[in-house]
């Protein structure tokens, strides 16, 4: 029921296990903290702490029907294993580093306007804001080929594209 969740065995050769995945996860959070990537760190913590929702198998159903008289749901809600915690963190990073640049590129291409000429600006909130927000150019969301290759190759040992 978690088709997107990367199995760690597919991710990084499975040489580490159990508590080591949690150590790696904590290491990632610490490094994000050092870089002041606070919003991404929060996103990761939210993703990693979300429970896994799974649908039970026919075998499970048969077993449960022998245990209970009334009807119960087919869903199993459980907490993430250490490897799933790290995997959830990598999903967040992959969204930012692979999906976002791809969609920004597609936006520019489909509108037929160079990314340098597209920007995001806020509306009237700006008038009352203590700190004025600069326009965000679409360009800042796009990676050139060299950057994209570097990101892809840096993500590779961490298994980010395992299910892609």
């Amino acid at each position: 029921m978690q088709p997107r969740l990367h199995r760690i065995s597919e991710m990084a050769n499975g040489d580490i296990f159990g508590e080591e995945w949690l150590e790696l996860y904590r290491y990632l959070l610490i490094e994000l903290n050092k870089g002041d990537y606070n919003e991404v760190r929060t996103e990761i913590e939210t993703a990693a702490s979300a429970p896994v929702v799974e649908e039970s198998t026919p075998e499970d159903e048969a077993r449960i029907s022998k245990l209970v008289r009334g009807e119960v749901g087919k869903t199993i809600i459980r907490r993430r294993s250490p490897e799933e915690v790290f995997s959830a963190a990598m999903e967040v990073l992959r969204s930012r580093l692979e999906e976002l640049p791809a969609l920004a590129n597609a936006l520019s291409r489909r509108l037929g306007v160079p990314a340098q000429r597209i920007e995001f600006r806020v509306d009237y909130e700006q008038r009352y804001a203590l700190v004025q927000t600069d326009p965000v150019p679409l360009d800042s969301l796009i990676l050139d080929k060299e950057e994209a290759d570097a990101v892809r190759s840096a993500l590779s040992p961490l298994g980010s594209s395992a299910t892609r």
Partner: protein, 227 residues
């Protein structure tokens, strides 16, 4: 075989890239708005695919502005604080506009932000002239909720969008668009009263892009033939 230390080194390498730094410092709001604008561009492609024209138009400067300004947050359709862009479209006898992140007034009178909306041009012109909010009435052709998930999606947002749809006149298309799916979200959106789902819609998945464009195209063609 990767050891713990090798994986820590891989994290250091990844976070040490200047490109990673740039993208990881963006706020989530920017990611959301970029996704909405991307969906707007898919809708513009659908108009062209149906044989119509779709012209980027600035509210202050008119057709094909030098700088295309997209909304970095929800706002008023009539706002002229910035040269916000919409897509001015013509398909056969029909003229309509595609907007991103505009606040509509629901049938109940409550305000609703619609991520990507398609509305009749006459209504949008009335809105710009009067400075009032557009309404979720018969002039609203399509309402699209967009969500750029960075992890496994839940059903909360889709549930909220169902409430919004109930506050609209029957539209031609109510769609829930997201870059990811989850079994829970798919189950929720498979019910008859749910918006049409387009999950897993990303620029990395041309099949899902094609399906969304084809659906919008079909809705617009049918609407164009009506009346």
């Amino acid at each position: 075989m990767a050891t713990l230390n090798e994986l820590k080194q891989a994290i250091d390498n990844l976070l040490g890239l200047s490109a990673s730094g740039r993208l990881l410092h963006l706020n989530s709001n920017t990611c959301e708005r970029a996704y909405e604008a991307y969906v707007l561009s898919l809708c513009a492609d659908a108009v062209r695919g149906a044989g119509g024209s779709a012209t980027l138009t600035g509210i202050k400067t008119g057709a094909n502005p030098v700088i295309v300004v997209l909304r970095g947050g929800p706002g008023e359709m009539a706002s002229k604080d910035q040269d916000f862009c919409y897509v001015d479209c013509v398909l056969g006898r029909k003229r309509f506009e595609i907007h991103a992140d505009v606040v509509y007034e629901g049938q109940s009178g409550a305000s609703h932000e619609i991520d990507v909306s398609i509305c009749e041009a006459t209504h949008a012109q009335d809105v710009r002239q009067s400075g009032r909010a557009p309404r979720t009435n018969k002039y609203l052709i399509a309402a699209v909720e967009c969500k750029f998930y960075q992890s496994t999606p839940g059903v909360a947002l889709a549930r909220t969008f169902v409430g919004l749809i109930k506050d609209c006149s029957p539209n031609r298309l109510n769609a829930f668009v997201s870059n990811r799916s989850s079994p829970g979200l798919d189950s929720f959106l498979s019910t008859t009263w749910a918006p049409k789902p387009f999950t897993d819609l990303t620029a990395l998945n041309s099949q899902s892009e094609g399906r969304f464009i084809a659906n919008v195209e079909q809705v617009l063609r049918q609407w164009e033939r009506s009346r």
